[in-house]
């Protein structure tokens, strides 16, 4: 047999590599495909199909009935609205608070700044799990000015799901890193032109901070949308429950596979759509969060 030319061999290697990459892709998407396909099938067919590769094929009695049933079983629309509200509110507030603090650290001179900044960076290593239980005691004794005057205790409210998370040390640090790398002349020139500090923040710095705003927003969005332990501990009533905790209704429901798959799909598909649309930004944001410290 004649020796393969360099080019043929190279081409063969590349197609081998691509086949391998496609095979590995199957490992990563099969549960997601299984989830979406199953959510469209009636329970009996779903059980029968899971004994073969038909589990991944949308065929037979395909319908949205599972979705209708899941909506009927739990107040899913309410859960979804709660999640959208708490997530949107925390993303907006955290962008404002974290960027303001980081702006102050990066551009303004005040006493104690270095110390405070290093304390903030030190809090990176406190896992949320460590503080969850004492945090429960803290929020349980905080006052809130409600419609009926001052009330003590934040349990079972919207704000207990939002306010503890509207500032975070990672967010501050990411903004700070970004601001620090901006040229000093930007701020100096604005000052000479007589801009005040608020104008420098709102008119000069914020408009050129798109990438870092996206990063912090994506991280907060994922953290809040996927929040589980904290709302599980603090929320009792259905009207306030976020969508992820609503999954609990299905934990012990071992018969209604189709409905569970429908619910899982509803929780996951919005995130996946966001992710696919903003893929590069998502991957970069999450990678940055891993390289902190």
């Amino acid at each position: 047999m004649a020796a393969m030319t360099f080019e043929t061999r190279q081409r063969l290697l590349i197609s081998l590599r691509i086949s391998l990459m496609i095979l590995i892709s199957a490992i990563f998407i099969f549960p997601i495909v299984f989830m979406i396909v199953s959510s469209l099938k009636p329970d009996l067919q779903l059980l029968r199909d899971s004994g073969s590769l038909l589990a991944f094929v949308p065929y037979g009695d395909i319908s949205l009935n599972n979705y209708a049933d899941a909506f009927e079983r739990v107040p899913m629309a309410q859960f979804a609205l709660n999640s959208i509200f708490t997530t949107a509110a925390s993303v907006a507030a955290s962008l404002l608070l974290n960027s303001l603090a980081a702006f102050s650290f990066a551009f303004l001179k005040w006493r104690g700044k270095a110390l405070v900044l290093s304390l903030i960076i030190a809090t990176f290593i406190v896992p949320f799990e460590v503080i969850a239980i004492p945090l429960l005691l803290v929020v349980n004794s905080l006052p809130w000015l409600g419609a009926g005057g001052i009330e003590i205790g934040w349990l079972n409210t919207y704000h207990v799901q939002i306010i503890p998370f509207i500032a975070d040390s990672l967010g501050i640090f990411l903004f700070y890193q970004y601001f620090r790398d901006l040229p000093d002349e930007l701020v100096e020139a604005a000052r000479i032109d007589g801009a005040n500090i608020w104008q420098i923040y709102a008119r000069i710095i914020m408009p050129i901070s798109g990438p870092i705003l996206a990063t912090v927003a994506i991280l907060k969005f994922l953290g809040m949308w996927n929040a589980y332990i904290w709302p599980l501990m603090t929320i009792r009533s259905e009207e306030l429950r976020p969508i992820m905790v609503g999954l609990q209704y299905f934990f012990q429901l071992n018969t209604a596979w189709g409905e569970i798959m429908a619910y899982l799909s509803i929780v996951t598909i919005p995130v996946l759509i966001f992710y696919l649309a903003l893929q590069r930004a998502f991957i970069e944001s999450i990678a940055t969060s891993g390289i902190k410290g």
Binding site: I24, I32, I133, L137
Partner: protein
Amino acid sequence: MTTAAEARKNAPLWVRLLLPKDAPLYQRGDAIFGWLLALPALLVLTIFLVIPFLMAFVMSFTNQRLVSPNPTEWVGMRNFERLLTIRAFTLEPERDESGAIVYDDDGSIAYPRLRNFTRKNPDYPELNGLREVTSWQAGENRTVILAADVVFLRALINTLIFAGVIAPLQGGCALLLALLLNQALPYINVFRAIYFAPVVVSMVVVSLLWRFIYDGQNGLLNTMLGIVTFGSFQPVDWLGNPYTAMPALIAMSAWQAVGFHMVIWLSGLQTIPTSLYEAAGLDGAGAWQKFRYVTWPGLRNTAVLVLIVIVIQAMGLFVQVDVMTRGGPLDATQSVVFQAVQRGYDKQDIAEGSAISVVLFVIVLVITIVNRYLTRDKD
């Protein structure tokens, strides 16, 4: 003309407090605005992070409960002693009057009952209340490991095993994926996006989904193993068997997060200059030698980072356990955080939950210090 120092001395108190010593007086606006802008975030962090963190330490030395008729008291190290007491104890065989070893009906050596030593035996006060964790035969004697809090010890050991296995597994797989993708090929971004996709899916969803994959009767994993082995594979109840439950959790967790670490490896790979590979190629280095002598040395810091991040995340193991196994079967998947939540929240024993949290924090702190030491600047 007044000097800067005099001007400072005559300035109002807040200026002297907030303005850095070396800053000119006209920057006092900066000083107050600096504080004002940082204040909201600092308040939130103080109330919802720093204070609870300090409370965890304080409460771990008390007997506080969420609701209790009795006042909270200081109990010193008692919570930690209970969690961490471990003793090895050697049981000697039963002997008859002549000193010969007594054997059971089934031929194994007979030992005195452990509870003779652990139930208020005045000769063994240090063993009082302890329970057996594990034991093994050593010669004719039997060594027994005893602990005051067997479930917590199991949880601690499980969590360390989880972290110790998942770190090389997930880190290694992530590196292989990164090497596979680190090529100028079409559609690389598509594959990167696919491998990364599980990272954005909530762990609750992933866990619930994998309950179906691991199911003993209709589970997809059994189905697929049956197909590749042409039906000779015996179905396993992956989460119901104490030997497979923890490996099942490890495999799923690695599947979910491997894309994350792949991206970190990829950014590490991109910092290695291509000129190094070209030089190695000119020197006749093959693919393996290029990896061994160019790629790997260039990835040293990335490797430490990846391992540390995985281990720290692994120490927080909770959602998988909560959704999939609730610590079972036979405590095979108990984890530290699951125990902290069970005791601190479900049983409302805040002091004990806090003590477990403090133990977790100390472990994470040690890991972080080791990390700083390994990645310190050499000069």
